[in-house]
Every structure is written in C-alpha cells, then in structure tokens.
Symmetry: C2
Subunit: 359 residues, 2 copies
C-alpha cells in the first residue's frame, strides 16, 4: 500500500462524506497497492475506511504471499459473496462503490443489505489519481519520450503501396524494441478519408499520393501510458483546404497549450481550442471533446470538455487533441500530453508538429 496515495484517497472520501469505499477498478487497486490483479468476471475489491486497516477481497485463484498493507480475504468460485462482504463492510453506513463495478455485485450487495446505501464514490479515487506524484510525472515523461521516438519510426514505414494494417502490425514490435511493455491502446492508422473518422480502425486501405496519414498511437512503459497523434501528408502538397484544416488544428492545439495553467476551468481549455476552429469555419467538424486524463489508464476519469467545470490542478496530465474531420475527404488531429504546472504546462511530447509532406 502506498500510504501517501491512500491518504489522498481517504482525504477525498472525507470531502465526499464517504466513510467506507469498495474500490474494484484493477487500475485503482494497482495505483494503491502496486499490484496488478486482473480478475475477469470475478470480484476484486479493496475496502478502504478511515477506521480500519484496508481489506483486499480476492478470489483464491489469485492468491499471493506478498504483504501489501491490506488484510486479504479470499473466497472461492463456489462461495456466496454476501456473508463475506458482511464480515468487513459496516452495515450502518453508506458504501462508496467504484463507478465501473459490475452491476451484478451492486445488486447482490443491495439485496443482501451489505451496507446502508450505495453511492458512486469513484470521484475520491479519481481525484487522487488525477494529480500525479513526482514519481508518476517522471514515468509519464519517459513513456511520452518513447512515443516520440516511435513516431519517427512509424513515419519511416510510410511507402508506396503500403496498407494501414501493414503499418499498424509493425508498431507493437517497434514499441517493444524501444523498451515499452506494449500498447496503451490499439493504434489508429488512417489514410485519406479514413482519417476523417476519429474511431477508424486500420484496414486494408492502400496509401495514395496526396493522402493525409494520421497516426494516433501510444505505449505503456512501467505501467504508465503515452498517447500522441500526428498527421502527415504523403508525397503531394496538401490542397489549400487541407492546409487550412491542418493549420487551424495546429493553432487550436498550441493555443490551448499556451492558455493552460493551474486553476483554469477545464471547459475553458476546450473552449479555447474550439473557438479557434469555429472562427476558422470548421466548428461542426471538430466532433469530440478536446482531451482526456491519462496515467495508469489511457482514459482516466476527467476530461477536457464543455461539460467539465472543474479547475485544473498542478500535476494533472491530460491530452490536448483538437481535430477537424471533413467527411469523405480529410481528417487532421494533433495531440500532445500535457502536465499542468502552477504557471503553465509542460508539453510531454516533443515530436514536431509543423506540416510535413513525407515519402
């Protein structure tokens, strides 16, 4: 158990008026205990309360010896969980549960009257996780630096006749050769009009002269994620419209980064980028939020969107990823990870962002 992190979570629980909490997200369990347990459909729960020592509920199939600062309570596949939860959870108090806990467990707890009531308590853990410790910040720098190096290698795969899939399938090997443990998410490779679909998955599309080439990619290093997007043009200079789309996207990216510092509303960061694109006439083609928080998970709680009125804090790390998608024609997205500081931000990606015609 990392006591500094545990105390951050307990303080956030106090603020939320939650006296006991069942943390079931394996990423959050890892965050606090330093141990990955991936239970699949089985129950995993780290119980935290102000009054008692933490308790880790886990299936005996995942038993381990190591001391982790939590009492371990094992159950088997044939056990009923309700009486096991009841040995620990205070039935007279509200229980905070993790937002992603499977409903089957929540419904069982409710039916078994394990606690007095249930609330989504994730914000306590999420607020703690959203402010990275110095050690976490350093790991995020390392992962993004590796992503910068990988991007240069990916660009080198662009050649006549290549398909999106042929490039995508080489990416994992490149990341591993650089020292990453794997992807932080399945890479997006989009040529031409495919780049105009923000969720496009690489397919057998063959590269054509004049295509834009979008890479949205990331790796995991020491359990922390990177995530960056760059968009190139292949062989031919972009059309005037494509150039305008690129420059507007870049301006939205750098404008938001220049604006950012601790204490500003997250919605205002989104607005900063969106206004630039809207004033350029492409507002409706910027179809998603500006960014998402990231760390152990590639999509952590918290986003940079019109709906998020929270203020940034020093230590937050999230993506700044404006995009313009002209359906059937071209898509451009330019994404960095940024670390919020008291008076600005540190951009964790250093791969160049100027328009490049390659090949």
């Amino acid at each position: 158990m990392d006591n500094q992190k545990k105390d951050k979570v307990l303080a956030a629980m106090k603020e939320q008026k939650i006296s006991q909490m069942m943390i079931t997200d394996p990423e959050s369990v890892f965050y606090l205990t330093g141990r990955w347990i991936l239970p699949g459909e089985r129950f995993l729960g780290l119980y935290l309360s102000e009054e008692r020592k933490p308790v880790l509920f886990l299936n005996e199939l995942f038993s381990f010896e190591e001391e982790i600062g939590a009492r371990k309570v094992y159950y088997s596949d044939t056990d009923d969980l309700v009486p096991i939860w009841k040995t620990v959870v205070d039935p007279g108090k509200i229980l905070g549960v993790d937002k992603t806990m499977a409903s089957k467990f929540l419904l069982s707890m409710m039916e078994g009257q394990v606690a007095k009531g249930y609330v989504n308590g994730s914000v306590s853990v999420d607020d703690a996780r959203a402010v990275k410790t110095k050690e976490e910040q350093e790991k995020m720098r390392i992962a993004s630096k590796m992503n910068d190096a990988a991007m240069e290698r990916f660009k080198g795969l662009v050649r006549e006749g290549v398909t999106e899939l042929e490039i995508a399938e080489q990416m994992l090997g490149i990341y591993k050769s650089l020292g990453a443990s794997g992807y932080s998410f399945d890479p997006i490779v989009g040529f031409g009009k495919n780049a105009a679909d923000p969720h496009h998955m690489p397919d057998n599309t063959v590269l054509q002269e004049g295509d834009c080439v979008l890479f949205d990619v990331g790796c995991k290093v020491n359990d922390y994620c990177s995530d960056m997007t760059r968009t190139f043009f292949y062989k031919k200079d972009p059309t005037p419209e494509e150039r305008r789309v690129y420059e507007l996207t870049l301006s939205a990216n750098t404008g938001a980064e220049a604006y950012l510092k601790a204490g500003v509303e997250l919605a205002s960061v989104d607005k900063k980028a969106r206004d630039i694109i809207t004033q350029g006439g492409y507002g409706p083609q910027f179809t998603h939020r500006l960014g998402h928080f990231i760390g152990i998970g590639v999509h952590e709680a918290g986003d940079v969107s019109a709906a998020n009125h929270n203020l940034t804090k020093a230590g937050n790390i999230f993506s700044i990823e404006p995009g313009i998608y002209v359906t059937g024609k071209v898509g451009v997205r330019i994404e960095d990870l940024v670390l919020v500081t008291e008076d600005g931000c540190e951009v964790l990606n250093h791969y160049p962002k100027d328009l490049q015609v390659i090949g």
Copy 2:
C-alpha cells in the same frame, strides 16, 4: 437484428418475468445486432421489450448509417443520460440490466427513477447465448480446427534455450498466418514448475530438459473463440510421478467427455472429472472448476463447477479442462472444447492427447 436470437432472448425474459431489459455487454449487442460497438467508458445499451421495437442507445461518436432493426437514440458527451433513458424505458416496470453494466449507470438510473426497480437480467441473454445456433456451431468448429493446427506449430517452437516469452511472442503471427483475426486470450506458456500456476504469464524462464511444457492457447476466427490446452514433456521421459499426474489428468478429461450428454447436471460433469483425480490422490491439486462456457466471448456465462446445478442442453459449448498442479514441480492441464449433443458430445479439438516427449 437477428430475429431468431432476439426471440430466444425475449422468451427467456418472459420466463424470468422481466418485461424490459437493457443489454450493455458489447458481446451481447454484437450477438443480437451483428455489430461490434466498443464504447469504452461511455454508455451503450440495447433496450429490448416485448411491446416495442428495440432501441439502441449509443454515443454519437459511434454513429452509423446501417439499418439494424433497432431505433437508434444518440447522445453526446455533454448530455445527461437520465432524460434520454426516460424517453424509452417504462417507469412503471422493473428493468432487467446486464450483470456487467457499470454501477455508475445503475446508480444514475436509480437516482433518476428511470424504472420501477432493477434486477440482474443477464440470465435471459446468457441462456440464449449458451445454446449455439447451427451457424455458431460451425464457426466454433472452424476456430477449434485452426487452434489444432496452431498447436502443432507451437510445438515446433520448442527448442533448447528458448524462453516462454520467445515462444509466446510468435503465437499471434502464427494464428494470423492461419487466418485467425487474433487471440481469444493472451496465451499461457509454462515450463516446469511455472505450469503448476494455472494463471502463470509467460516470462523469461529458459526451458530445461525434463520440463513439462504447457500451452493454454486460443484464437478468434469470424468473431468466435477457440481455447485448448496441451502439456508436453521436453527431451526426457517424465518421472513416475509426472507420468501419473499426466495419465490422471487425461483420464479425467476423457472420462468427463465420455459421460457428457444433454440433460445432465453441470455439477455432475465437474464431479466426474474431480472424482477420478481425487481417487488418484490429487484432489487438492485440482484447484479450479472443470470448465467454462465459450463462444463470442472466451469466458461466457455458465461454468462446469460444483456450484452449477443447471442441466446441459444440446448446443452448449464449453471447455473440459482438468488440471493437476504440484507446486514447485509440475503442472498438467488437458483441455478441449466440447459441443453437447442429445446423446453425447462432439469434441471440437482433435489435437492428440497422449503423452508426448518432444525435442
């Protein structure tokens, strides 16, 4: 929408006395609609009821044109879902929800009084999915046949000085060259005492003469999963104890398969295999259930365990995977997928199971 499958689910809902259901598991949505939508942390729900046309709730980021026999209701990242759910869900009736639906959505529905009450309604979908259609059975045969071919190739990777990871890292390429779309789960490769840990992940352990070599592997073909385990011995004949462990495991595997037919209790299938191992003196070393259901997902609802008193049905497909784990020494597991028929079962794997000393 596959109407045959939808009608199976509606009939199962009727049996469960659930008149409306929100299906959120992407595998179940694919099962019914033939369309993969992977919404990550966002809400995806296929609403089924006897009275009305199905409705698919999805984020506008995942919009698509194709007609799927369900009305589409889009929402954006900034929308409150409660009023959107309320346009469809009947507030006067209980709502069945999927067992894996994130608790944050269930707690929001409860707070917003979207329905009269909530139950875990997954059994309706799970019962339908557990009985494979003829078309699904054929897809499962094809996936297992490919897994048989892959096992022979994996065996060919076993050579002096190789590590578990070096073998594991070649498996995806082999599956793809055979025509699979990918893994159905990350492969387990265990040498010697590592094989005695049923959840061992391949590491840098170097193969030694006399080691057992356990491969628990599977691929996806046309969206359906295979899953098979074989255990070999490297270069030296096994010790008498190892041989005994192997023969007992094999006997449990074939004994359960010979016993199996439609209409027997799933717990009795587990018992059949477990009794053989227990009578051989290794009961405590067979530490897990005998098998799990499989199809679109590698672990579907339903298992072959002492806790499952349901009866088998013709069309069920699950694994039969007894194992004996002698900590610090040796582990043997022998696993096939089987299709239950009226008077027996069809074993979908044909890779030989006799003890093989290789290399």
